[in-house]
Structure formats: C-alpha cells, structure tokens
Symmetry: C2
Subunit: 248 residues, 2 copies
DNA sequence: CGATCAGTTGACGCGCATCAAGAGGCGTGG
DNA sequence: CCACGCCTCTTGATGCGCGTCAACTGATCG
C-alpha cells in the first residue's frame, strides 16, 4: 500500500467515462476535488481495511476489484460482498466505530481517498452528493439483500449461477467486462465457497457440474456465461440493464 | 391500513423518549414536522409495502414490529430483516424503482409517513438529518451483514441463538423490551425458518433442543434469554450496549 | 527442487430437508 | 353449542445434499 504523488484530477476521473456510471457536473467535480485527499494503490491481496481497526478514510474504487469479508473467532470466514469500481468503501465504519469487516484487493487496485472526519461537513455542503451517498448506501443494501436470499433459499447450484451472473453484471456496469459475458478475474474457489456458505470441495464439484451442463463456464481466473438469459432465469436473478449508478 | 386524522406532533413523538434513540433539537423537529405527511396504522399481518409495487411513501416505525421479506417465483421466501420502532422503511425503493421486497406487520403497528418525492429536497435542506439518514442506511447494511454471516457460516443451533439474541437486543434499543431479556412478540416458527434458511421441522427441533439445554427459551410468542452473555458468546454476537441510534 | 497453494477427485457420514401424521387452539358457521 | 376447518406446533421415519477427511495433481516460486 503506497500513496502516489500524482493523483488523477477529478475532472479526468476514469469513472466519468463509464456509460453506466452517472457523470457529475462541473460544480460537483470541483467540490469533490476539494474533498479528495489523494490516491492509494494496493497490490493483489493487499488490505485496504483490517477487521477491528478504525481507519481515518473513506475510499472510492477507481480501478480493480476487492472483497469485503468478516472472519469469526474460530476462523470461519464470510465474504460479504465484492467491491467494484465506483463503489464507496468504509461507510459503516464512518459511523459505528471500528470496522467489523476487512477489505482486500483481488487484483491490483487504485483507490480515491477521502477523510472520514470531513464527511459530515461534506454531506452538509453538497446536497446532491449527499443524495448520491444515500443512493449508494441503499444500493449496497439491496445487494446484500440479494446475497441473503441466495444463501437462505437457494441450492448450491443455484447459488453458483447466481454469483456468476451477478459478478458479470456488476463488472459490466463498472466497465471492466465487455458484452461477451466474460469476466477475467482471479477468484479462488475457496473464496467462492466463503461467499456462498459452501465447502470448498462441494463448490468445486458443483462448478464442474455446471461446466458440464454448459450453463456457466467458471474456469480458474475466468467466468463465462454462454447464455445470459438462461442463467438469469435459472438463478431467478433480475438484471436491470438500464439503471445508472451514481458514484463518489 | 387506514389514515388517522390525529397524528402525533413530532415534538411529542414517543420515540424521543427512548434513551437509546438520539433525540433531535427544536429546529430539526420543526423541519421534520413539515416533512411529515401523516400517520398510518396497520393491523397484525397487514402489508405496508407489497413486493413489486412502487409506493409513494417512506415510513418511520413509531410502534410495532414488522418483517421485510422477498418471495421467489416458486414460493420460497426469505425474510431479510425485522423492522423495529425508529427504523426507516422504503429507502431502497426510493431510488431503484419498485420495491423488490414486501413489508408486513407482526403486530399492530403505527407508522409515520413521508413523501418520497420530497425526499431529495429534504436531504438538501437539512444536513444533519441527511447525515442521520446515511447513518441509518449504514446501520441497516451492517445488520444485513450480520445476517449474512449467520446464514453463510453458522449451524442451525447457532443461527437460532444468534437470532434470539439479536431480536432481544434490538427490542431493548427501541424500548419494547425490558432488561429482563424477554421479548413478547408473536413470531411463528415458520417465519423463523424463513429468516434463517432452515426448514420448519428442523427449526422446531432445534428450538426444542435449545430449550432443553437452557441457552435460549423460545416459546411460542415469547423469547427469553436466561444468560445473555453465554448466549452472545455461543453465537459469537457482539452487542454494543452504548451506541445511540438516530432516527427519522 | 522441496515447499506451498489452487484445483481435483474419491469415500464416507452427518446435518438438515422432506414426507407424513397427529395434537391442540381458535374462529366460523350450521 | 358443537362440528368443522385451518393454522401452529410437534414428533417420527427416511433420505439426500452437502460437509469432512484424505490423497493426488500441476503450477508457481524462492
């Protein structure tokens, strides 16, 4: 983890170019620029937030994909969500003391840093951005809700299809996957297991079964979904291909 | 569901009296009063929000307990969260079109109504309240995160203890349970099962085992936890007995 | 070139789902 | 006022989905 001298100016923020991410106007960009405290790079497997710590920053992901997870005392681990470009990290810990989860990079990532303590002021001074933050918080909640339904109600096979579809969908929204429904990302089967509440062995077997059935081709380092509609229906997942996300 | 003529004035809001709920100052109360559009009563098993609908309101619970759940096409149901006094309902659907979940009252409930379309203006005009809303959204997210850990990593017995402890804890925060660690609330075992991703039969058996072991006494209509610390440790649940929640 | 780690596959067993049926409470209508 | 239906809780029997233990492969790396 290191800080770079040369940070991208907000007006040149790569996220502004993504079609599914809502762009900001000049005034908002100026204000954000004031609020921004620099950038941070994290290498693969690097930690952005440690469980139980009390970090002074909020982050927006500029590039890369990360996981947010919680570890129990006895070593069991639950991956709570994946974090994509445009997502805000650290909202909860901004309010309720130390974070009860960790955030770790799956691939090298670049983050935009904000100061936690100027956060109330930030919300107060720019209503539209405050509104966007509430939007992001609500969206994150909706995602967790989906995961919850998957863990509570779905079988192993359904969960894996759900996760594959969801990952590809989110990747497309944040612009890191094309329309070919392929996502290149080094997720280990162990991580998949810890996300879906399955054992590693059963995850492996089920992935093989899915590969054989042709519904989802999840090979090491790459997810491909031959027929997106079929996969969505199987997992009872509803995509919204219209929706624009705000960010920062 | 019916609207009452006589709504409580915000300055007399019963929630203001709860020690664990953060009180508002005069100016904030005045502003809230402007934003408030009335009250609503729901009888037991009455619906506040229907899945797939596009309601024009946000609500704050004044009294009563509700469940928020999502039903799949094939009838499987996942209860996503319980809703207690002081909680805000409808944030997600305020942003992302129709709600993908339903909200139903467990007991007769009273709700404070706000208009969804004046929500952006509301956020813009009162920073402190905007801040509180972000706080509430973050808190809700933290709760879902806990549920996710329970569903993904815990055994049936652990899940049930977790849920019991969590319910009693939340009930105490919102002032509807005393320090005796008893919560009187008509939750069916079927609802418990749908919350925890267990079958009804197994839920029943596990509850009986817990009753026999003395860890949690969950009888129909009432939850009692003889030794809160022991139960928390078993479920690896960390209470925060200090934290004040904001509301509205 | 041993060590470590992700992926893979087999064997076995337990936790939990499913099917089934009965008991008790409560409201409703004949 | 009792009979009936419905709902919740309960308990038994059976079996499958998935966890666990264990071993082997191939890749990467110091």
């Amino acid at each position: 983890m290191n800080r770079r001298a040369q940070a991208v100016a907000c007006r040149n923020c790569p996220l502004q170019k993504q079609p599914r991410l809502r762009t900001l106007d000049e005034r908002q960009i100026d204000y954000l620029q004031d609020f921004k405290r620099g950038e941070m790079s994290v290498e693969r497997e690097g930690m952005v937030i440690e469980q139980g710590q009390f970090g002074p920053h909020l982050y927006t992901v500029l590039e890369g994909v990360l996981i947010r997870y919680r570890t129990l005392d006895d070593g069991r681990r639950q991956i709570v969500n994946f974090v994509f470009p445009g997502d805000l990290i650290g909202l909860q810990s901004a309010f309720e003391g130390p974070a009860n989860h960790a955030v770790e990079a799956l691939v090298e990532a670049r983050l935009c840093m904000f100061e936690r303590k100027s956060f109330p002021e930030f919300i107060g001074q720019h209503p539209r951005l405050a509104y966007d933050i509430v939007w992001l918080a609500a969206a994150e909640e909706t995602q967790l809700e989906e995961h919850l339904v998957a863990l509570g109600q779905r079988t192993a096979k359904e969960r894996l299809v759900y996760l594959a579809v969801w990952l590809v969908d989110r990747a497309q929204i944040s612009g890191i996957s094309d329309k070919g429904n392929t996502l290149t990302l080094p997720i280990t089967q162990s991580q998949v297991a810890d996300m879906l509440g399955l054992s590693l062995v059963h995850t492996n077997r089920t992935l093989r079964a899915l590969l054989d059935s042709g519904l989802v081709e999840w090979r090491p380092g790459e997810i491909h979904i031959p027929d997106m509609d079929a996969a969505c229906e199987f997992a009872q997942y509803e995509r919204d291909t219209e929706l624009e996300r705000p960010f920062i």
